[in-house]
Every structure is written in structure tokens, then in C-alpha cells.
């Protein structure tokens, strides 16, 4: 591992301004969908910036829009001659990649953040466990539907304040 390229800090700060198209209060950095960032020699000379984009769900319909917006923002920075944003499954996106800032913003807009995973194995994913109500903080909540308005959202009901709310799914 070489020392972090100082341009990476600039890149991450810029991408922290690119919103998730489906939940715009949270940025692609906070959502954890930005994977590896590296500079490579470009084919026609100069440098190419290569960024991996990790889909939350394989079939996420917002991923192409995200890719375009990330590419556009990076090109506007002028830190490399070429920019390539590639979808990657090299490291699987898991809901643990959502940052603390991201979790706070989700809560602020009525989404329960996913609980942290005890294990990263697919067989141990704890689905449908209690979620914390983003309105009153109660854990006295019931899963209404593991499938919500988008692939990554589940629908809960708070039995304390009787408010329906969504959870960003555990994955």
C-alpha cells in the first residue's frame, strides 16, 4: 500500500456532494458505494482516473444515473486526463459500509439505518429484526414488509408512536 495520493482527498470531498438519486439526503460517499480509487496511465498518454462503484443491490435501477453523476463530477475536477467509473463486485457492498454521518442523515429524514452486521456471511444476515423508530427512538417496532418502494428499503411500523417508517435494508 503506497501513501494515499493527495488527489484522493479532493476526489472524496467532491463525491461527498453527489447525492444518492433515490435518497438524496445521503451522498454516494456516505452510502459507501465508492470503492477503489486509482490513477493509471491512459492509453493515449496522460493519466486515467479509475473509480469503482459498488452497487447496493445488483439490480439497482439507479446505478447508471449514479455512475453518470459520479463521472460528471470527477471530469469537472480536472485531476486526470480521462475518467472511468466501473461497476464492481470485487468487494461486495454491505449495509455496514454506510458511514455514521450517513446513518444520522437517514434518521433525520425518517429512515431507520440498518443495524451493524454481527457477521458478514450471507447465511447469518439477521433479516427482519427490530428496527429503531427514527421518530421516537423506540425499538418496539414490527416489520410490515421486507420489500418496500425500492430494492433497498423495507417497511416497518412503530408500535410505540404508531408511525410507519422505512428501514434501509440490512444486506
Amino acid at each position: 500500500m503506497t501513501a494515499t495520493d493527495p488527489r484522493e482527498t479532493v476526489i472524496r470531498a467532491a463525491l461527498d456532494e453527489v447525492a444518492d438519486p433515490e435518497i438524496p439526503t445521503i451522498s454516494v460517499i456516505e452510502l459507501g458505494v465508492i470503492g477503489g480509487i486509482r490513477f493509471e496511465p491512459a492509453q493515449g498518454g496522460g493519466e486515467r482516473l479509475h473509480v469503482d462503484l459498488l452497487p447496493t443491490f445488483v439490480g439497482c435501477p439507479a446505478i447508471e444515473i449514479m455512475r453518470e453523476q459520479v463521472g460528471e463530477r470527477l471530469r469537472s475536477l480536472g485531476v486526470a486526463d480521462e475518467v472511468e467509473v466501473r461497476l464492481s463486485f470485487e468487494e461486495p457492498w454491505t449495509s455496514d459500509r454506510i458511514s455514521e454521518e450517513g446513518r444520522e442523515k437517514l434518521r433525520g429524514s425518517g429512515f431507520a439505518p440498518p443495524p451493524h452486521l454481527r457477521s458478514l456471511g450471507p447465511d447469518e444476515l439477521d433479516l427482519g429484526g427490530a428496527a429503531e423508530c427514527p421518530y421516537c427512538g423506540s425499538r418496539n417496532t414490527t416489520l410490515d414488509n421486507a420489500f418496500g418502494p425500492t430494492l433497498c428499503r423495507a417497511i416497518y411500523h412503530c408500535d410505540a408512536c404508531h408511525q410507519p417508517f422505512e428501514q434501509f435494508k440490512v444486506l
Binding site: G59, P61, D123, L125, F147, P149
Partner: protein, 259 residues
């Protein structure tokens, strides 16, 4: 990761066949079950079945992309540009959606078979497939949980629900085996570690597990020794031809369109 097949020794044709069979499975079940959008038994299920179908078509897309990388074809052309006889999905997915119990029975058989297949492929020596399988398994956990709840609900429901479910399971059981119909190039895939276990071994493990679960709910015993039909991935039906005409309608209306 060890045992990654070097590009020059990669059994490309056999790998392409494996990827296409899985992609077509996901694509076709996604389209069949998306037919429930708007008419599922209740609103929550409408959302759930649509979401699951969207997942499956997304998985198909990712698998078609891997296939396209190997063969140089365009993923859209593979998905929408073939004749019905050139699809390679399992015969289980030839049937129309029929009633809700039939859809639940078919999906339970398919999802559990797919889970067994993905568990093996997450150990594949072909890393792009291993990574995708590992990612897909996390999403499929939600499908398995949802389908198991439906199986339990119908099995423990009234006699009408139970009889329809049992009837559909018995009818579909022979075709369910075809998810594991051996592939032409299977020996090469197993030798290269791309398919970590032969289809026959995967089928036996799946049949034992799913049979046990269904029997525990008092559903009819299903023969775990039943062999899959050799033409399980090439046999096509008029019901599938009808679905094919539906899902290729937009692509056929303007073949030169950019998506």
C-alpha cells in the same frame, strides 16, 4: 483465492453455457412473476413480488454481462434478440404463472435450487462469477425468507390453499430437477474448479433439504432420487413462446433503438 483458471486454459464455451443457463433462469422467472404486479393477493405482496422480480432481472443482467465479456456479444442482444428455442432456462420455468399457490410452489422450488447453486458458485475458481454469486446470495436471503413464510402460510391455511400448494409441488417436482440438468461442458467446468461440484451432487443436496422442509409442514413426500430430464434446458413450450413474445415486444418494435 486459489485455482483461478489462466485465460488460455479457460473452458470458455462451457463457462458461457453455464452463465447463459443461470441468466436465462433469472430472466424468465423474473418476467413470469412480474405478471403479478398489480394483481397479487394483497398490496404488500404486490410490492414484494415486484421487488423480487426486479432483483431477478437485475441478476440476469449482471450474468448476461459476464456472458457478453466472454463471447463479445451485446448483453441486450443476448437477452432480447434470440429465438425462443435458443433460451437455456430450466423446464421448471416453462410454465405460465397459473394461480398464486402454483407461483409460490414454483418459486420455492426455484429459489432453494438457486441458493444451492449459488452457494457452490461463490467458491468458483472463476472470480468474476464467484464475486457476483457472493453478492447475489445476500439478496436471495430475503427471497428465501419471504417464500418460506408463504409456503408455511399456505400449508397451514385452509384445505383449498393446502391442496392447491400440494398439487402444484407434485406437478412441478420433475421439472424442478432440471435446474440441475447436467451441462454439455460440465466435466471441463468441474475440472477447472469453475463449477466446484457436479450438478448431480448439488441436486441431491437440494432435493434432500427442500424435501425435508416441505415434509415438516405435512406436505406430500417428494422423491429425492428423481433424475432430471436430459433435455431439461432445451425443451420449450407454447406458454414460454407466449411470454417471449411479450418480453421482446418493445425490443422488436425498434431493433436499432439505443437504451
Amino acid at each position: 483465492m486459489t485455482g483461478l483458471a489462466a485465460p488460455d486454459t479457460l473452458p470458455r464455451e462451457a463457462l458461457a453455457e453455464l452463465l447463459l443457463s443461470m441468466a436465462d433462469d433469472e430472466f424468465v422467472i423474473g418476467f413470469w412473476d412480474s405478471e403479478w404486479t398489480g394483481i397479487a393477493p394483497m398490496l404488500e405482496e404486490d410490492v414484494a413480488t415486484s421487488s423480487i422480480s426486479q432483483d431477478e432481472i437485475g441478476h440476469a443482467n449482471a450474468l448476461y454481462e459476464l456472458h457478453a465479456e466472454l463471447t463479445g456479444a451485446h448483453p441486450d442482444a443476448i437477452a432480447f434478440g434470440r429465438d425462443p428455442d435458443d433460451y437455456r432456462h430450466a423446464a421448471l420455468l416453462n410454465h405460465a404463472r397459473t394461480d398464486w399457490a402454483f407461483t409460490v410452489a414454483r418459486r420455492q422450488l426455484y429459489e432453494t435450487a438457486d441458493a444451492t447453486r449459488l452457494e457452490a458458485l461463490a467458491r468458483s475458481s472463476y472470480e468474476p462469477l464467484a464475486r457476483l454469486a457472493a453478492k447475489m446470495r445476500r439478496e436471495e436471503r430475503y427471497h428465501l425468507m419471504h417464500l418460506d413464510a408463504w409456503i408455511r402460510r399456505l400449508a397451514e391455511g385452509g384445505s383449498d390453499a393446502r391442496e392447491r400448494l400440494a398439487g402444484a409441488l407434485v406437478r412441478l417436482w420433475p421439472d424442478a430437477q432440471t435446474v440441475f440438468t447436467p451441462l454439455a461442458g460440465e466435466v471441463a467446468l468441474v475440472e477447472a474448479g469453475i463449477l466446484p461440484e457436479p450438478m448431480a451432487a448439488l441436486r441431491r443436496r437440494w432435493a434432500g433439504e427442500v424435501g425435508e422442509r416441505l415434509a415438516s409442514l405435512g406436505l406430500p413426500a417428494l422423491d429425492p432420487e428423481l433424475e432430471p430430464a436430459p433435455d431439461g434446458r432445451t425443451r420449450r413450450t407454447d406458454e414460454f413462446r407466449w411470454l417471449h413474445a411479450e418480453f421482446t415486444m418493445v425490443a422488436r418494435s425498434d431493433p436499432q433503438a439505443t437504451w
